[in-house]
Subunit: 259 residues, 3 copies
C-alpha cells in the first residue's frame, strides 16, 4: 500500500481552518470520560471554543449525545455505570450519525478493558486515539511500518497514534506530527483531553483523518507555546489552556512541524 | 407587583459584611455536585474561607448534611447514586433546618433532569441559581419582566439568574449585578462554584436574597480582579481563587456594580 | 518506651535519596481515592516522577494493584463502589506483597466511615496518614504523648500525623517535621495527595517510617517553595506541582526542618 504524504503547508493551513471553525460554530461535544480527566477535558474543550457535556446517566445520555455534534468515548476508570453509558452513547451516535472518537486508555494494563475496547472497535469509531502500548494491546501487534495503516483499513477508522511523534493515518494518508513538549506527559489526562479536541474538530470537519491531524497539530503547538511560559507541570496545565485559547492561525501555521 | 430596588452602597457593604462572616465562622458546606465540578467547587469554598465536604454515599449523607451550615444540590452528571443522595440530603436539610441551594445544571438539555428539578423546587430550596435557558426549561416561560419575581413568589424561593448581568429576586426585592468577566464562561464549573459560594453565604446570612446577592457580587468582582492577572482561561481559573482569597472589603465595595 | 530521634541531617539526606529513587524508577502507584482528589493526586504523582492509575472497577482493580509498586486507599467520597474496590485492592495488595497507605479522610465526620476504617486498620496498612481529629475518631483517644507510638505498635503500622507540625512514628522511631505552609490547608485534596506521595516513596523504600518521613518532608518543602511564588490558593496549587517537579536534593536538604 502506498501512503500519500501531504505537503506540510497544506496540513498546517487546514489545522488553522478547522480550529477557526470550532471557534465559530462552538460545537457541543459529549464526553464519556474517566473521573480523573473530566475537569481538564471540559476546560480544554471550552478553551478551544467547544461546549462540553459529561453526564454518564443512562436515561440522559441519549438526549445529550443526540444533541451533540461529536462524541468522545474514553475507557479510563471504566466502571459498570460508564460501560452502560458507553453502550447507549455509541448506539445513539450510530443512529443519529454523530461522529465519535474512541480513547482506549490503559488497555495494556487491564485485560477486561482490552476485550471491551476490541468490541467497541467493531462498532467503527470515526477515530481511535491511543499510544504505542495501547495499540499493541488492542491490535495484537506493534505499530511498525505498514501495520498502523493496515489496522486503519481493516477497521475502517482513522488512527491517531500519539507519543514523542504523532502519526495519523486512515490507511491511505499519513500525517507525521513533531510538535509537542515533554511536560505534556507530566499532566494527567493530557492524552484524554487531546482525544476530546479531536472530537471537537470532528464536529466541524467530516474527514476524520484531517480532523485528527488538525487537533494533534493544534495541541502540540499549544503545548510548545505553553512550555515557554511554564515553570513546571502545574503551571503548564494552566498555560496550555491559555495557549489554546489564544492561538492564532498564523502562529499555528508558523510553528506546525508536520509532514 | 412593585419591586423595591436597594441603594448600591447598601448591597456592596452588605456583601463585604457577609464575606467577612464566612471568613470568620468558616462554615461547613456540604455539596452534592457533579463530577466535573467537585474539585473546583471545593477550592472555591476553601478560598472563601468555608469548609467543603462532598460525599454522595447514602449512609453518610445524613451525618454530613446535619453537621453542615448549608447544602448545595447541583444536578450535573445526575446519576442514580447522586439522585439517591440528593433525596436523603434534602430530607435531612429540611428536618434539620439547614438552608439549601438548588443548581439545576443543563435542565434545558435533558427532559428527565428537568422533571426531577421541578420536583425539587416543590421542596422549597432557599435559593435557585440558574441561567436563562435553564430557567426557561424549569419554569416553562421566559425570565422577562415580572416573570422572574412571580416565579420566586410562587415557589417561596430566592432566584439568582446569572448571565452577562445577574438578577437576584425573592419576589419583593431585586438586585441587578453587572460585575463579572467573559472568561468566567470559559472555565468549566464556574456557575456551579458560584452556587456553592451562595451556599457559603447562606450559611452565615439568613436572608436568602441577601446571601445570593452577596455571593454573586463577590464572585463577579473576584472575576474582574482575576481577569487583570490572567493570560487566558487556564490561568484565570487559578487567579479567581487567588482573588477571592485575597479580596478585601474595600475593593469589593469599590468595584461592586449593583443596583 | 523510648523513641530514638534521628539526627536531622540523616533524615533530610534520606528524603532526597528516596525522591531520587522515585524519579529514577518511576513506580506505578494505584490510587483508590475520592472523586474530589483524583485529578490533583494524579498530577502530584506525575510531578514526583511516579505513574498513577485510578480505576475503581471491580474486575480491573486486581490487575492494576498487582502491577503497581504501591497502593493508596483513601476513604473520601466512600460510595459502595469504592468500598467494593477497596476490599479487592487490599486483598490483592496483601496477596502480592504490595505496600499500601490508608488515608481515613473525614472519619471524624461519619460514624459508618469510621467503623469501616477501623476494620481496614486490622488488615495492617504499611502506613496510616491522617490529621488529629481523624486520629481521635479512629483510635478512640488523643494523639498525645506516647499515645501515637502506642497506636503504631499495637497496629503494626507507621503513622503519619499531619498538621502544622507533622509527626511520623512506627512506635520505635519518631520524626517531627516543621516544613509546610498555611496555604496547603486552602487547597482541596492536599492531604490526599500527600498520602499518594507517601505511597510513591513506599514503592521505592521498604522502611515505611522512612518512606513516610521522606514524603512529608518533600511535600512540606515543596509547599514552602511554592508559597514564595504564589498569589493565593489557586496559583499555589499549580506552584506546588512545579516545585515538587523541580525540587533538587540540595534544596530539599537545605530547607528540611526535621528532628
Amino acid at each position: 500500500m502506498t501512503l500519500s504524504i501531504p505537503v506540510t503547508g497544506d496540513l498546517a493551513t487546514m489545522a488553522a481552518d478547522v480550529l477557526a471553525r470550532v471557534r465559530e460554530r462552538r460545537p457541543r461535544v459529549h464526553c464519556i470520560t474517566n473521573a480523573v480527566a473530566q475537569n481538564f477535558t471540559a476546560n480544554m474543550l471550552l478553551a478551544a471554543g467547544a461546549v462540553p457535556s459529561m453526564t454518564i446517566t443512562p436515561d440522559e445520555v441519549v438526549d445529550f449525545v443526540a444533541g451533540a455534534a461529536a462524541l468522545l468515548v474514553n475507557l479510563g476508570t471504566l466502571d459498570p455505570q460508564r460501560r452502560a453509558a458507553i453502550d447507549i452513547a455509541v448506539e445513539t451516535a450510530i443512529d443519529e450519525g454523530v461522529p465519535w472518537v474512541l480513547d482506549p486508555v490503559f488497555v495494556d494494563r487491564s485485560p477486561p478493558r482490552s476485550d471491551y475496547a476490541g468490541a467497541l472497535v467493531q462498532r467503527k469509531p470515526s477515530v481511535i486515539r491511543l499510544n504505542r502500548a495501547e495499540f499493541r494491546a488492542l491490535a495484537g501487534f506493534d505499530a511498525e511500518g505498514g501495520a498502523l495503516a493496515g489496522y486503519a483499513v481493516d477497521n475502517l477508522t482513522a488512527v491517531g497514534l500519539t507519543g514523542e511523534i504523532d502519526f495519523v493515518t486512515d490507511g491511505t494518508r499519513l500525517a507525521v506530527i513533531e510538535n509537542g513538549h515533554a511536560l505534556m506527559g507530566r499532566v494527567t489526562a493530557m492524552g484524554c483531553a487531546g482525544s476530546a479536541l479531536i472530537a471537537a474538530c470532528l464536529a466541524v470537519e467530516n474527514d476524520a483523518w484531517a480532523a485528527t491531524t488538525a487537533a494533534l497539530i493544534t495541541l502540540g503547538v499549544a503545548g510548545e507555546v505553553a512550555a515557554a511560559a511554564a515553570q513546571g507541570p502545574g503551571s503548564f496545565a494552566a498555560a496550555i489552556l491559555d495557549a489554546l485559547y489564544a492561538l492564532d492561525g498564523a502562529t499555528l501555521i508558523d510553528r506546525a512541524r508536520v509532514a
